[in-house]
Structures are given as structure tokens and as C-alpha cells.
Amino acid sequence: MSTLQIPGVYTEQGLKTEDLVVNIGPQHPSTHGVLRLITTLNGEVVKDMVPVIGYLHRSKEKMAESRSYFQYQPTIDRVEYLSSFFDHSVFVSGIESIAKLKVPKRVKYIRMITMELNRISSHLLWFGTFLLDLGATSTLFYAFREREEIFKLFEDLTGARMMYNYYRFGGVNADLPVGWIEQCREFVQSFPAKIDEYETIVTKNPIFLDRTVGIGLLDFDTCMRYGVTGPSIRATGIPMDLRKDAPYLCYDEVKFDVPVGTHGDVFDRYLVRMAEMRESVKIILQCLDQIPGGDTANVIAKTKEVEAAKEAAKAAGEDPKAVPGVDPDWLSVGQKINLLTYKPPAGEVYHVCESPRGMLGCHMISDGTAKAYRVKWRGASFSNLSVLPELMIGKLYPDLMAIFGSLDVILPEVDR
């Protein structure tokens, strides 16, 4: 040891040491958005971490108070752009519950199909970028290959690839295009083979296992304390899934399993998401079989038949209203309302659904005017991100991107 002693902290070997504050972000490729992490490091070990959010705050909740419900609807897509069908679902079903609007069963099935496809596309993007964070570039192209097919289906259906704005109060914007169900079935049936392909590349890869097994352990109690939900909590071994626990839409009419992990580490979260995609495939295939009316060609043919029968009744001098119409469950809109001036009655509702990231909630208060009195979004990412310091403190800095990536945080949903 040298005789010159500068005041400070010394290691056992007599080396002077000090904590290093590293500012990660707000612009950083691995943060999938604009997140800033003020990290205090002792060598490679994280001593403290303070997430700073709010860079993407676009005042979605304030905007709801100055727009009519229909005008507000397109902006919901931007709350969480990777799975915006879910945001639309909770918002639209909130209005439907307040106003007690009729929702045909066909609409519920269309919503389930689109939401599960959206879950697959969201998990695919997670899969690609998560491995990109770990340094594996090639999986991104595999994931985007299938994601593109889903986007093609969505584009046929809604006209948009990401910002769908497809659901309406009491229905959907337009019925499925003719032949869409077959296209969708074709894709969904071919998809499990693609998941096998991903798993062949990744699941037993020793480099991947080294980076993920036993890293970022999260137990059930910690999840409860921080409000972590979604695949992260299921990876701890607790089958907590709202689609099973408190079924909404027609989830009680389809059979599926809730995949769970065992240890709650990064690797388990990966396995849970991969298994969830397979379960989504099961759900979609059942929905495609069970959807009332089947392909839209059937619905159109039936509508024409009814119209012809009414014409015939009119010609015969009978009351055309006596002719039985199309089954109300076959319609794509339950009840026609003027969307631009629509005023739901006063009421309050809190709708929650199981989004790809966890429990997504929308709290809505209507005072009987055309604008909402209050809209509150509960994004799953908000709570999921808050657990990051707890997971990181005392752990190695190089594991940060593996752990953060495995939580699947979407920053626009955090900041809203």
C-alpha cells in the first residue's frame, strides 16, 4: 500500500473506490421508449436505481374531458400502441355497461379474435426485441415475419396496421371482410409450427440460458406488493388470469389453459409468454369455429334472404314486420347510435381486462353530457415498471437489460 492516502473509501486491496452514477436514457435503444434510469454503481453491482418517467406524458386523461367520447376514441390507440385492441375493449365496454347497450355475440367473438391476435403480435414484438437486447439479432426477423402476417389480417379488417380504432359502442366499425375467417384460420393453424421454430433457436441455447436462468427472481409477494400482473406474476407459479378468474366477453365459452412458471426468473417469463401464444392460438381457433353466423358471406346471404322474404310478404299484402329477421347475434352492430352526439347516461364503471402486460383498467365517470367527467387508465406497465429498482438493487449491471426487457414495459402506457 502506498504511503499517500487520499481520503475516501478503500477496498480490501487498498484501492481507492467510489460509487459511480450512470444516467441511462431517456434516449436509449434498450428502454423501448423514453425511460431514464439514474443508476448508482459500485463496480458492476447496482447500488441504487431511480426510474424517471413522464417523458411521454400526453395527458390522455385530460384530453378525455374536452372531447366527445367518439372524438376521444382514436387517441386511445396511442395509450398503448402495441396492443391497442385491449385499450379499446375496456373503454368501449365501459360505455356499453353505463348505457346498457346491446352487444351482439358476433361482436364479442370478433373482439376476442382480434384481441388474441393482438396478444400474439405483441408477444412477438417482445420476443424479437427482448432477444435483441440480449444480443441475438436474428430472432427479430423471425418474429417480424409472423407479425407482418397478423398486420395484414388487421389491415384487411380495420384499414390500419397499428392504430386500429375498430370497436364502436355496441359493435364494431364493419363486419369481417368476406373470406377473412379462412385467412385467419390459415395463419393461426400454421403458427404453432413457427413457435416451435423460435423455441428451437432460443429455448435451449446455452448463451441464452446463461443470461436468463436464475436472473431477476420475482416472487408472488413482491408482485403483490408492487401490483405486478400479467405474465410476470404467472411466471411465479400463480395462475392469475382475468380471462379465467373473472371472464369477460365470451371467455367462459372457450377452453384454454393458463401457463405458469416455477421460479419467476427471466427464463420463466420467456417460457410463459411463448406458451401464452400457443394458448391464444387455441382460443382463436375455437372462436373461429363458434362465431355466430360464421363467415360474412353467410350473414350477407341470410340478410338478402330476409329482405326477399319481406318483399314477398309486402307483395302478398302481409305485414313485412312479421317476417323473422336476421338473428340479432349475427349482427356487427347491436344498436345504431349517433356517435358524434352520443350522450351516455350518468354512471360510473371500472372495467379491467387481461392485456398482454397484465391487468389493464379503465375507470370512467359519465355525468350525462357528451364528454366524460373523468377517465383514468390503469396501465399494467406502470406497476410492472415500479418493481424494477427492487429487482436490480444488489444485482449485476449487465443483467439490467435482461431483467428490464423481461418485464415487457411499454413506456407510452406508463406515461399515458
Binding site: I53, G54, H57, S59, E61, K62, S66, S97, I98, K100, M224, R225, Y226, G227, T229, I238, M240, D245, A246, G347, E348, V349, Y350, H351, V352, M359, G361, H363, I365, D367, T369, R374, K376, R378, F382, S383, S386, D415, R416
Partner: protein
């Protein structure tokens, strides 16, 4: 923009006192009490729900607000009893997950709303408390998830959560003026222009 809401309020308020018809006025001071009596059935007593009656049974202050349109029970307590109610709900009623905390500006008062979920019973509960002078106790000791959610409510509504470990702004910049989700927040305040601050 504000007129329809104001009209509703103005229409609702003056109803009660304007009942002094010549007949009742002749009956002198006793008559002054009469108009107030028929008003009691006008505000129907909301029956206590499952958790409302459980809370009342434990001797805690609780006001039943009925159910929302999909059947979620809503109860309101006071700032004095909030922590006891929260602990009771978590330990005895199994509400282990705090989904979100938010605020509502009712123009005459600020209300905090906690949404709770029970992972064993699969039910939701909306727990409310009216802030007193913009102050309310923090439920951070009961549910740590309240940390960020209460910071957000403080940021956007200005409700001060006493006992919160780190009550600073979370979504808005640290030097932001005012609390944006309040109904009296001015959107065109010139002080809010970034470059001039």
C-alpha cells in the same frame, strides 16, 4: 363548455328552500321544519354491500355508495379511519392487490379512489376517501404499490398524501405549476409556456 354542467348544478340547488307557500308561512316557526322532513326519503338509503357491512361490523366508519354499473361495490371512509379500513380490507377481506389509486375533482372536494382486487375471491372494491384540505393519509404502509400511484395522484390532483415516503411529481416536470387534472386548471395559462419559464 361549462354551461351545461353549471345549469344542472344551479337547477339542483335552489329547489329545497323555496317551499314557503302562504299556508306553511301562517304556521309560524314550527313550519320552518316541515319542508326539511319530506326530503329524507328523497335521498334513498343505499343498502350496505358485503364489504360495507363487514367494515361496519368491525366498528369502522363507512359510507355505502352502492354498486357501479357492473356491480363493483363502492364504499367511502374518512381520512381518520382510512388506514384501519385499508388494513382490515387487506388482512381480513383478502384485498391483496392495489390496482390503482386515482383522484376525482368534484369541484367542491377532492376524492381519492383506490381500486382493490382480491386474488383469492376475484372481486373488485372501490375504496374512496374525501381529502380534508387537500390532505389524506397514504396507504403506502399497507400496499406498497401505492407509491407510484399516489405520486401520480399528487402530481395531477394536488392531494397531499401524509406519510408517503417520496411524494414528488412523477409525470409532469418537477417545476410544473398547478395540478392539471383539477377542473379549475387553466389550460391557457401563459406561465405554462415552457420557453418563458
Amino acid at each position: 363548455m361549462e354551461t351545461p354542467e353549471n345549469d344542472i348544478q344551479k337547477a339542483a340547488i335552489p329547489e329545497a328552500p323555496v317551499n314557503a307557500s302562504p299556508e306553511t308561512a301562517a304556521k309560524a316557526p314550527v313550519a320552518a321544519d316541515i319542508p326539511s322532513e319530506p326530503e329524507v326519503p328523497a335521498t334513498p338509503v343505499i343498502p350496505a354491500g358485503v364489504f360495507g357491512s363487514a367494515l361496519a361490523g368491525a366498528g369502522l366508519t363507512v359510507e355505502n355508495l352502492g354498486n357501479d354499473v357492473i356491480g363493483t361495490e363502492m364504499v367511502r371512509t374518512t381520512v381518520d379511519d382510512l388506514l384501519k379500513v385499508a388494513a382490515f380490507l387487506k388482512d381480513k377481506q383478502g384485498f391483496d392487490l392495489l390496482l390503482s389509486c386515482t383522484g376525482i375533482d368534484w369541484k367542491d372536494r377532492l376524492e381519492s379512489v383506490y381500486f382493490l382486487y382480491s386474488t383469492t375471491k376475484h372481486v373488485y372494491l372501490s375504496l374512496r376517501v374525501n381529502a380534508v384540505d387537500d390532505h389524506s393519509p397514504s396507504v403506502y404502509p399497507i400496499w406498497n404499490a401505492a407509491d407510484w400511484h399516489e405520486r401520480e395522484t399528487y402530481d395531477l390532483f394536488g392531494i397531499q398524501y401524509d406519510g408517503h415516503p417520496n411524494l414528488i411529481r412523477i409525470l409532469m416536470p418537477d417545476d410544473w405549476l398547478g395540478h392539471p387534472l383539477r377542473k379549475d386548471y387553466k389550460l391557457n395559462d401563459p406561465r405554462l409556456v415552457w420557453n418563458e419559464r
